[in-house]
Amino acid sequence: MKNFDRIDRFLKNEMSEKERQSFLREMAADKELARETKLQQLEEAVLEDQAVLDLKKRIRSLQENPAPESPKGPSGKPRRFRIWPWLLVVVATIVIWQYMIHDPVDPGNFMQNQDTGEQPDPTPEDEKQEQPLNGEEKESETGKEINEIPDISRGRPQAFNDSPQFIYQGPDWPPKENIERGLSPEENLGLLKAIRAMEADSFILARNLARGVLKSDSTSLEAREVIAHASFLLKDYKTATAQFQVLVDSAVPNYVQEWEWYLLLSYAAQWPEQKANFTKYLNLILNDPEHDYHKALLRYYTGRQ
């Protein structure tokens, strides 16, 4: 305890820069001082833990015996009836109703008949991005012919409308035989833990662990894959898109098509900002009958079983 006050000042950041540097040098040379500092730091942490624990007990007790008073709003004032949210609801209802009257075609219906409903003129960018499908007839797994040209000028396909999260079905972890790829034991362990965390639906943990792996090996596609899937499931679609894009660009045979599918879902989730990219991958998969996800996409696309 002879250094208690000095350590206390060091831990509370109350030392001058010169004094702090001197203390750090002293710790580097004196292991006992370094250990005492560590112990004191942990003791402080435990006292904080205890203080929070005590507060939690009191909160639980207060919840069980609440004071008899009606709750009030966060401002501290009684809640008032506000008219504007109701006004908004009424206006929104009128707008939607008007839209339905003038445009009875479901804007999200991917396979709508092009002869019905007015369609806005596509922008030059849309025209550029929306590569038409092959005019050739395609066969679904049921053998029915599909020759409609997709029109997503007004909205993404109905199947993607609610949430691409519903369509998403993650791979079985580990998604490929990656663990024996020659990674160092530390990276192997980190990746294994990340995959286990994915299996346990602990996506934040999985992503953090995979980031740790990626930090030591920026070429690790497996780590990127975990980050991409975890981000998708955490609805962090920008990160998911970026990672799936790297994976697709890596063009690893056997897996690239799977990554293209997830990239498509990630873009779908960012509709309409990513409409152009969504269209690109949609057409890419629809135009390739050999694509692993061609049939699955057709199913969503047409609603046919």
């Binding site: 305890m1 208690f4 292991k31 370094a34 250990r35 560590k38 112990l39 942990l42 003791e43 402080e44 942490a45 435990v46 006292l47 904080e48 833990d49 205890q50 203080a51 929070v52 624990l53 005590d54 507060l55 939690k56 009191r58 909160i59 639980r60 207060l62 919840q63 609440p66 004071a67 008899p68 008073e69 009606s70 709750p71 009030k72 709003g73 966060p74 501290g76 004032k77 980190g190 294994l192 833990k193 286990r196 965390a197 299996e199 346990a200 639906d201 602990s202 996506f203 934040i204 943990l205 953090n208 662990l209 980031r211 740790g212 930090k215 030591s216």
Partner: protein
């Protein structure tokens, strides 16, 4: 229960004695629990976890405000909701493993390698657990004084709470810390783990 008119009044109550802290906590529970719970449940439909996150978040907020660590950059309500969301996310990280997965593998803090390796963090956790046990072995008076100090209560205020002279509180605080240290050092496992760390 008198209502609070603004954040400053709540902060002042949370920095006051036990009675005023309880008053502030009761008011927060009555006024803010429902909207915070709604916010949490919009993100994740798990009511017991949301309830735990609210309690943890409120305790952390009250602790930080009580010791003057809240800088007032945001409204107190926003501060509480963001802490609760973070606590909720922390809980998700600690979800129990599904069958066939060893739980020890899953309970690993964020970003390994950035704040220390797995082993060091595990050792620190173990030391903290043992230190918590040591704290429980302190006498009630010591525990009260050290807890109040950890909450940021000044010695002169502690003197009023525990009915002692100011100087006595100062001496007792020092003696209690010494006793806590002695209990820690009496546990060879703690000292071994510290040596393994440094």
């Amino acid at each position: 229960m008198a209502a609070f008119e603004n954040d400053r009044q709540i902060i002042s109550a949370l920095q006051g004695d036990n009675q005023s802290v309880d008053h502030a906590l009761s008011w927060i529970i009555a006024a803010w629990k429902a909207p915070v719970m709604k916010l949490l449940l919009e993100k994740f439909a798990d009511e017991p976890a949301a309830e735990d996150a609210f309690i943890e978040g409120l305790a952390a907020m009250a602790h930080n405000v009580g010791r003057g660590a809240f800088r007032g950059d945001s409204k107190l309500y926003s501060y509480l909701s963001s802490i609760c969301v973070n606590k909720f996310l922390d809980q998700l990280k600690k979800q129990p493993a599904r069958s066939g997965i060893e739980p020890d593998i899953l309970e690993i803090p964020d970003f390994p390698g950035m704040n220390g390796d797995f082993e060091s963090l595990e050792k620190e956790e173990e030391i903290r657990r043992l230190l918590n046990l040591a704290f429980d072995r302190l006498g009630e008076e010591c525990r009260t004084i050290l807890l109040l100090r950890a909450k940021g209560v000044k010695p002169e205020e502690i003197a009023g709470i525990v009915n002692l002279q100011y100087q006595t509180v100062k001496n007792k605080t020092h003696n209690c810390r010494r006793e806590f240290r002695e209990l820690a050092m009496a546990n060879p496992v703690i000292m071994d783990k510290i040596k393994e760390l440094i």
